[in-house]
């Protein structure tokens, strides 16, 4: 029986108390730091906790989208860590109360399981160390990204320290167990411990040696705890918390509304860290610095100084260095654009949401970027110069093209179109959208959709001159005031007509009408044209014939359709029914790759990038020989058509509606 001396017990108890005090202090500081953010976090719920523990902690579901092998080894470490919580508790109690023993069979299995897990953890740690130190590792970023000079080395040092501590903690525990087999043979085979145990065969005092390694294991944990909050490995606490306390979102990365009339509010949007949401500060503690978001960020891949990963890391490093000042409520931290993210990076974001989608710990860097855009635009009057025209056009003509609303139906010349004046109570209200009304490529799609509607003799109407921009681009450019003006006007207008259903071909209009307007009191049933067409096909109103052309096509998923609204199936089912064979794309469905237009980029004079986003996407879409590139968003349509033109490509870019029109026959119903 192993017994500990009274001195050992007293010293250990003191260390435990000290650690507990340290932990309490750290928790208080973290909570003070998080509370400096704006608004409140989401509400705690017990079912939410269970869900987070099961999905995000035990199964690690959000991690599996990429990097299979590292995830597998990481899973071993997570499960090992959970098991070691038990091991450490048993070890800790054994110091004070002697060895815990049980006669249950499961208790006999404990040393076996412990041995296996220790071994697997050590193997995994070796894998991660090798990966981290190998040259082509994924944890690097380009020099044009704003960052604190030490970030690169600091991340490496942090990994090495934590890797080292885990190795010491688990390794010494394993060594201690292997020594113990010398004087307390186990009934179970211990594969890893028995590998080591021959080393101790000659030892004269195995008990002393066991104690040495036992204490190394326990004390390494006590060293780890105070270091822990400064390290990125605190994510094992903050990642679940981040999922648990995400402010309740009605849709994918929904933007918080601003009350611009509130005289109490002095700052709109965010200029400094404390202007961001509390969840944004929580985000920076949850970040595991895995750079997955950077890997999928279209502007970063195009050479922009925007790296969502480095932005989160910069926030984190700032908090690490300035925790004390920042936690006091009257401290003004420096401008975010001076250390966290360059203003070019802020304006390069295409708000495609890829970073939000991929993040395994539930971080939303895009929300922060949009908050900073609001701050820069509303408070500092700083934005890309080309946006002046966008803002002016929206102010004067309520559409980004700056054309008069009287020209809104010019695209339909020569075709019959029913306006809301002619049919004030339509079953279907077709929201054409500014692009569909004014932009050349999109007008073609509008004409196709109109022909389909006319052929099916549906009771529909368009708003015509009364339609305005939904405000998507100005909202994402930071002009919340213009957005609100448009949104409230549109809601009032749409409420007048009480259409059963609103259909639109523009995913940006869809997202605003359906999701973003809901916080302003709108409650519309909005569908995208792809859903609408699928309903017509399934309802038998139209039949599709299979195309004879067996060349493959590439279908480009629009971010605001597939990622923001999970609407990727309707288009694919329709294309399948048209006999169109799709290519295999790496970036597809909710994992799509932006065309480069989103987040008001369409209206921005493009910054010089090594390869523009639309060119990159064009490359992906046309890697295999294809007969055409198909999309279901007017902005994607133009961006991709432009890319094709620059490449002198003959591959046509067409809207889904055009394909359907070509392949359809009107059913008898």
């Amino acid at each position: 029986m192993i017994a500990f001396t009274i001195t050992e017990k007293i010293v250990f108890a003191c260390l435990l108390l000290l650690t507990t005090y340290w932990v309490a202090r750290t928790i208080r500081q973290f909570s003070e730091i998080i509370q400096r953010g704006k608004n409140t976090l989401g509400k705690f719920s017990f079912t939410g906790l269970l869900r987070v523990l099961w999905q995000k902690v035990i199964l690690l579901l959000p991690t599996w989208k990429t990097r299979f092998w590292p995830n597998l080894f990481h899973l071993v470490i997570v499960w090992g860590f959970i098991f070691f919580l038990l091991t450490n508790l048993i070890d800790l109690l054994s110091v004070f109360f002697g060895e815990i023993s049980s006669r249950a069979n499961s208790a006999h299995a404990y040393p076996f399981v412990s041995d296996i897990i220790s071994g697997l953890i050590l193997v995994s740690i070796i894998f991660f160390m090798v990966r981290r130190l190998s040259k082509p590792n994924p944890f690097r970023f380009r020099d044009n990204v704003l960052s604190t000079p030490v970030v690169d080395q600091a991340i490496l040092a942090d990994s090495l320290i934590v890797g080292g501590l885990i190795t010491i903690h688990v390794g010494s525990h394993l060594v201690a167990e292997s020594i113990r087999t010398q004087f307390m043979p186990q009934s179970f085979w211990l594969p890893f411990a028995s590998l080591l145990s021959p080393l101790w065969a000659q030892t004269s005092n195995p008990l002393l040696l066991w104690k040495v390694f036992f204490w190394i294991s326990i004390l390494s944990l006590l060293v780890f705890i105070p270091y822990f909050p400064k390290s990125k490995h605190i994510h094992l606490i903050f990642a679940p918390l981040n999922f648990l306390f995400r402010s309740q979102q009605t849709s994918f990365s929904s933007l918080p509304d601003l009350n611009l009339d509130d005289p109490q509010v002095e700052i709109f949007g965010a200029l400094r860290l404390e202007d961001l949401e509390r969840s944004a500060i929580l985000d920076s503690f949850a970040c595991i610095m895995c750079f997955r978001c950077q890997d999928v960020c279209p502007p970063y891949q195009s050479g922009s100084p925007l790296s969502p990963a480095v932005f989160e890391i910069n926030k984190r490093f700032y908090l690490k260095e300035n925790a004390k000042q920042f936690s006091s409520s009257n401290y003004d931290s420096p401008a975010l654009t001076s250390y966290a993210i360059s203003s070019q990076a802020v304006w390069d974001c295409t708000t495609c949401g890829a970073c939000v989608e991929i993040c395994p710990v539930g971080i939303d860097p895009m929300a922060d970027i949009l908050a900073i855009r609001r701050g820069l635009t509303l408070m500092e009057n700083e934005f890309p110069k080309s946006f002046q025209l966008l803002f002016r056009n929206i102010e004067r003509t309520a559409n980004p093209w700056g054309l008069s609303n009287q020209q809104r139906l010019d695209w339909a010349k020569g075709l019959h179109v029913t306006t809301i004046q002619e049919n004030p109570h339509p079953d279907v209200l077709w929201w054409v959208g500014c692009a569909g009304a004014f932009e050349n490529n999109a007008q073609k799609a509008s004409r196709s959709f109109l022909k389909i509607l006319n052929a099916t003799q549906l009771n529909y109407a368009v708003l015509g001159e009364q339609e305005n921009c939904t405000g998507d681009s100005v909202r994402r450019a930071g002009r919340e005031d213009l957005y609100l003006e448009l949104a409230l006007k549109n809601i009032e207008l749409l409420n007048q007509f009480k259409a059963g259903q609103i259909v639109t071909s523009c995913p940006h209009c869809l997202h605003n009408l359906k999701n973003e307007y809901s916080s302003l009191g709108a409650d519309f049933s909005v569908v995208h044209s792809s859903q609408f067409l699928l309903d017509l096909v399934q309802g038998g109103s139209i039949q599709l014939t299979k195309s004879a052309d067996q060349t493959k096509i590439s279908y480009h998923d629009s971010c605001y359709l597939s990622r923001f609204n999970q609407l990727t199936d309707p288009a694919k089912i329709l294309l399948n029914q048209c006999g169109q064979l799709p290519t295999n794309l790496q970036y597809t469905n909710s994992h799509t790759y932006c065309c480069g237009a989103g987040g008001a980029q369409y209206w921005k004079e493009s910054t010089v990038l090594t390869r523009p986003v639309n060119m990159e996407r064009w490359q992906q879409l046309t890697a295999e020989p294809v007969s055409q590139v198909v999309t279901a968003c007017p902005f994607c349509l133009t961006m991709l058509a432009d890319a094709g033109r620059i490449q002198d490509s003959v591959i046509p870019v067409i809207d889904l509606c055009e394909i359907i029109l070509n392949q359809m026959q009107v059913g008898e119903k």
């Binding site: 611009l260 408070m379 009057n381 700056g402 002009r479």
Partner: protein, 255 residues
């Protein structure tokens, strides 16, 4: 230093508008602040920032004119005055007389800026007439301010590729040219403040003017019908050929 900037709304010519012959008052149009006034505002704001000055935006017209004043406030003017005369003046002499009377009432004004012309009726005569009414010197279309002394200004202007350095004693009337620099975009915070700012309203009587005192000139509008456009797409194998064909076509039309 007190600077008055006379501003006005004009028709946004990029948008549809109607001007009936019988009653030449434009309607169904989108009003915008006269872009030439924006250049003068930018010049005045430049002086305010560099030398410090009090900027007063001044306009005459009905309530619709207030949007021009609010935009001037949003860009950075300190206060705004609207002169309500009961009629919407279109005629330069009438406008200049009202502005002159208002500037005299404001008092101790050292500079009065006007837009060089309006982009709709393009008369471009208010500034000169204002200088005449006030008896002040008039510096037209300045491009830069070289220096500003307590009692005089040295400015530059470019006319037909020639650079002039000109100076005048205060008080004076000025207009700024496009070369002065792109007018700033009004900030959201500025617009928000301007939306709440109160605009002082003066009547003609406040200025001691009676309508019949002013020499009213009846402005006339005539409809001039334009020849219908001739359109033709020229397609040739290269640019030189295109130019040749184009040259022939133009020579046919222009003797």
């Amino acid at each position: 230093m007190k600077i008055v900037i006379a501003v006005t709304n004009v028709i946004d010519l990029t948008q549809p508008y109607k001007i009936p012959i019988e009653n030449h008052t434009p309607h169904d149009y989108t009003p915008i602040l006269n872009p030439w006034d924006e250049f003068s505002l930018e010049a005045a704001l430049h002086i305010k920032e560099k030398y410090s000055a009090e900027l007063i935006a001044l306009s005459t017209g009905d309530e619709m004119a207030e949007s021009a004043l609010r935009k001037a406030l949003a860009m950075g003017c300190d206060s705004a005055i609207r002169v309500e005369t009961g009629i919407n003046p279109q005629e330069s002499g009438f406008i200049a007389a009202i502005l002159a009377a208002a500037i005299q009432k404001i008092g101790a004004v050292e500079m009065a800026f006007c837009g060089r012309q309006s982009i709709d009726f393009e008369n471009g005569s208010v500034a000169g007439m204002l200088a005449q009414f006030l008896g002040w010197p008039y510096l037209a279309q300045i491009t830069t301010i070289e220096s500003l002394y307590p009692s005089k200004i040295i400015a530059r202007r470019t006319v037909a590729n020639q650079l002039y350095t000109i100076s005048a004693q205060f008080p004076l009337v000025l207009t700024a040219s496009k070369e002065f620099g792109e007018p700033r975009f009004p900030s959201f915070m500025g617009t928000r403040k301007a939306a709440k700012a109160s605009i002082e309203i003066w009547s003609a009587a406040d200025l001691g003017i009676e309508r019949n005192q002013i020499n009213q000139v009846e402005s006339r509008l005539e409809r001039v019908s334009a020849e219908p456009f001739q359109r033709e797409m020229i397609t040739a194998e290269n640019e030189a050929k295109t130019a040749e064909i184009l040259n022939q076509k133009v020579n046919l039309v222009l003797p």
